[in-house]
């Protein structure tokens, strides 16, 4: 196959574009796609301080690489999840990446800072390992970005991630979740803006980019992830895509163009208040992160001393951690 840009020998085929590219041109194509995403959704400016959530995997390191190559002020944030050798390798690859490029890497260790790790959460919490992992990441990335004075958090979600999430939410008609799925989540009081600059690129493309750029990413999958629903949705999408190339992009990018404006009308504006335990914004007395952490550690969250109104008191009582939550009888824990 010949490279669509230069006619050289192709090493990557992108079937949904009916095109292939050589090893010199493909990174340029990827950077163009990222630039298009940043511009189209006005994700950030040159002067903005960006915190890239990095895991040591192909997507987040590819994203960090593109942003650094493009000259953005991008620091990395690595969250140590405590998943044995997998986490050790992930941290080591991330440190090496930052060291090679002279980039700043911030690190938070979940166990040292918050008293639990993901394997413990899987055993003790009422949620699945993946659910607690996602909740912990969203909370800590936001807190670190907020406290560190960053303008925006960038994550490595790719087209496959977004299409699989949209498929899952559509199958269940989770209208509120669909309405919130966007390449940019704007800043709100206490919440730093979140962006997904890789949303136009498939996993094959981000992996090929990382390989061609010589990025030594962690190839192995998280050992706790096997059988999770996100993977099942990806497999379903890939089965359709293999027969009809371009379906995945039409599904997600078509949603952004034509579906998102409709679903946004369904999004209710919620009143945010400060979590009574940590002060981060939440819609309930205690935020989801503090409630999950209390479940895992077997701690009791104590409501604020005085309720201003009967409604406030009722809400506080409703938010107390119940015994069944403590001992993990929830369906997700099994």
């Amino acid at each position: 196959m010949k490279c669509k840009r230069c006619g050289g020998s192709a090493v990557v085929e992108v079937r949904r574009h009916n095109a292939a590219f050589c090893k010199e041109c493909f990174p340029v194509v990827v950077r163009n796609q990222v630039r298009r995403a940043i511009d189209e959704y006005e994700m950030f400016e040159r002067t903005d301080r960006i915190l890239v959530a990095v895991s040591g995997g192909k997507d987040s390191l590819a994203l960090w690489d593109v942003l650094l190559e493009e000259g953005y002020r991008a620091d990395g944030l690595y969250l140590g999840l405590g998943i044995g050798e997998y986490s050790d390798r992930s941290h080591e690859r991330t440190r090496a990446f930052a060291g090679d490029r002279g980039a700043t890497l911030r690190t938070v260790d979940l166990d040292k800072t918050y008293g639990y790790d993901i394997p413990l959460a899987g055993r003790k919490g009422a949620r699945s390992s993946c659910a607690v992992c996602g909740l912990s990441k969203r909370y800590i990335f936001n807190k670190e970005a907020h406290d560190g004075g960053y303008d925006v958090i960038a994550t490595g979600h790719n087209l496959d991630d977004e299409a699989a999430t949209l498929l899952g939410n559509t199958l269940r008609w989770n209208v509120e979740y669909i309405a919130r799925q966007a390449p940019v989540l704007p800043a709100e009081p206490g919440f730093v803006r979140k962006v997904k600059p890789l949303h136009r690129l498939s996993e094959l493309e981000t992996a090929a980019y990382a390989f061609l750029r010589g990025i030594d990413y962690v190839v192995e999958e998280c050992p706790l992830v096997a059988g999770n629903t996100q993977l099942r949705y990806k497999e379903a999408m890939n089965a359709i895509e293999s027969r009809s190339p371009g379906t995945k992009a039409q599904f997600f990018l078509g949603y952004l163009d034509r579906g998102m404006p409709i679903f946004h009308t369904a999004e209710d504006r919620v009143l945010l208040v400060a979590c009574a335990n940590c002060g981060q914004p939440t819609t309930t007395t205690f935020c989801a992160f503090c409630r999950a952490r209390a479940q895992i550690l077997g701690e009791r969250l104590v409501p604020a001393e005085r309720a201003e109104t009967p409604e406030e008191l009722a809400r506080q009582l409703a938010d107390e951690v119940l015994p069944e939550e403590l001992y993990g009888v929830g369906a997700e824990a099994t």
Partner: protein
């Protein structure tokens, strides 16, 4: 041939296209990188018996 996630070694016949090798193993070409001698190759490349390939899945799951 080295297959990743989980890591294992396989001997398969060469003298055919990458896509034919992947088809024999029921692997969707859009879900893997195929690497020969440190270089990416497309599914339209011909491989020989003596070639050593790494087939590296690109799908990742879990929370981001």
């Amino acid at each position: 041939m080295a297959l990743r996630n989980p890591d294992r070694e396989l001997d398969v016949a060469g003298g055919r296209l990458v896509r034919e090798v992947l088809s024999e193993l029921s692997i969707d070409p859009d879900t893997v990188l195929v690497i020969r001698d440190g270089e990416l190759i497309t599914r339209h490349e011909r491989v020989d018996d003596a070639d050593r390939l790494e087939v590296r899945p690109v799908i990742s799951g879990g929370a981001r």
